[in-house]
Subunit: 271 residues, 2 copies
Amino acid sequence: MTTQELVAQIHEKQSFLCIGLDVDLNKIPKHLLDKEDPIFEFNKAIIDATHHLAVAYKPNTAFYEAYGIKGWKSLEKTITYLNANYPEVFTIADAKRGDIGNTSTMYAKAFFEDLEFDSVTVAPYMGKDSVEPFLAFENKHTILLALTSNQGAFDFQTKNVEGKELYKQVLEVSKSYKNSKNLMYVVGATKAEFIGEIRKIIPDSFLLVPGVGAQGGNLQEVCRYGLNDQVGLLINSSRGIIYASDGADYAKAAAEKALELQKQMENILKS
Amino acid sequence: MTTQELVAQIHEKQSFLCIGLDVDLNKIPKHLLDKEDPIFEFNKAIIDATHHLAVAYKPNTAFYEAYGIKGWKSLEKTITYLNANYPEVFTIADAKRGDIGNTSTMYAKAFFEDLEFDSVTVAPYMGKDSVEPFLAFENKHTILLALTSNQGAFDFQTKNVEGKELYKQVLEVSKSYKNSKNLMYVVGATKAEFIGEIRKIIPDSFLLVPGVGAQGGNLQEVCRYGLNDQVGLLINSSRGIIYASDGADYAKAAAEKALELQKQMENILKS
């Protein structure tokens, strides 16, 4: 998917909502556990109920790998279902991969070719040759971790590296990578005040912002600092939407939560 | 596996060799491609031929994920085969994972419980709460990326962070993590001169050293700086061993290469 197609979808739906499909068998409605593939059934119902309100879906691979081959099958079925039924939707493999050159190429193939995701999240620690193999894929997007929304972000990401915070170094340095136009960045919403600083370094890039809702970020604040003339934001909500109810009405409850966020986004886009 | 069991195995085999199972279908002998599971057949033959010379095996998960569910099955069969037939061997899932707390727990379950690896490699960028969930597993080991062997290591890892290189900050800070006794570290062999510095910060920890062979590191140099009184080193070789021959004799050729390294290690341990 091109960035232009993503932007067009945002304007059409008046939404820049990403729904995180972080599915834990201990948290989904009990009646689904009798199904052959409870995770896929859960995802399918959530997607069907929310696809008109969200522009992106983001399964976190950890939740699938934890169930071994069965989990990997649920992931494959989920992305196949998305691509077959809602091809306009932007898909993100939240995998936080990264390895030396030839190995990163294998990861890129796994997510871009085998599973056909539009994008994958990548960790920056190993530098240029760990990121560029992902960037080599046309119309695929590499979402680099810059500033994450967890407490551990303060261990290294905000430390001063030769005059500026490490996450700013990551933003600066990554701009020089080959095909850097295919980069987006993960920027946690718990630090909305940092987003203004980030926009000075990467004015045009899309930011994937987790942490609105469960992790305490504020949508208005994030938009104040983060919106650009292409919108430039994908706001992720996972638990706040998908676990809105643990009863038989879970998909309907998820859609209600998604609608709340979409309405807020519509107001912001119109103002 | 406990560290003591690993050390005992090293002394018994007079080896601290780790064999990287980074299996690429384009590089394995052609006659294997007719088998139902070429990757597992390849691994099984390599393991059977080298298990008396190596103390650890390290499949890099990227090479399995690139083949989707089929690849994940090959990985599962490989670790199951290792645990069933050579339970004395230390197993490393080279996965370079890391995510926020509850998500890292899912990854830890994937590799420690579902696949029953003894250890997993973890990226440090997201800090404390991304690493501690792995450390919570008893007799399992978390191998944190410190200084990697690729060119991109110079992008961030060697940058000065508040008075010392980022990789040294990672070493220092991680020592304060809960259950840090379960930590080992990845330290690339292409920078052998750094290993002396590293030993000052973490004198007792095991170091997993890639880059001897294909990536240009020197075994003697690494040992001069890196050995401690528990040996404290696992030296990884992947391509140099597993692709020693692309003919029907590939397992025998791999064993010969492994024997060469084991003999060098025996000499070093005896001197």
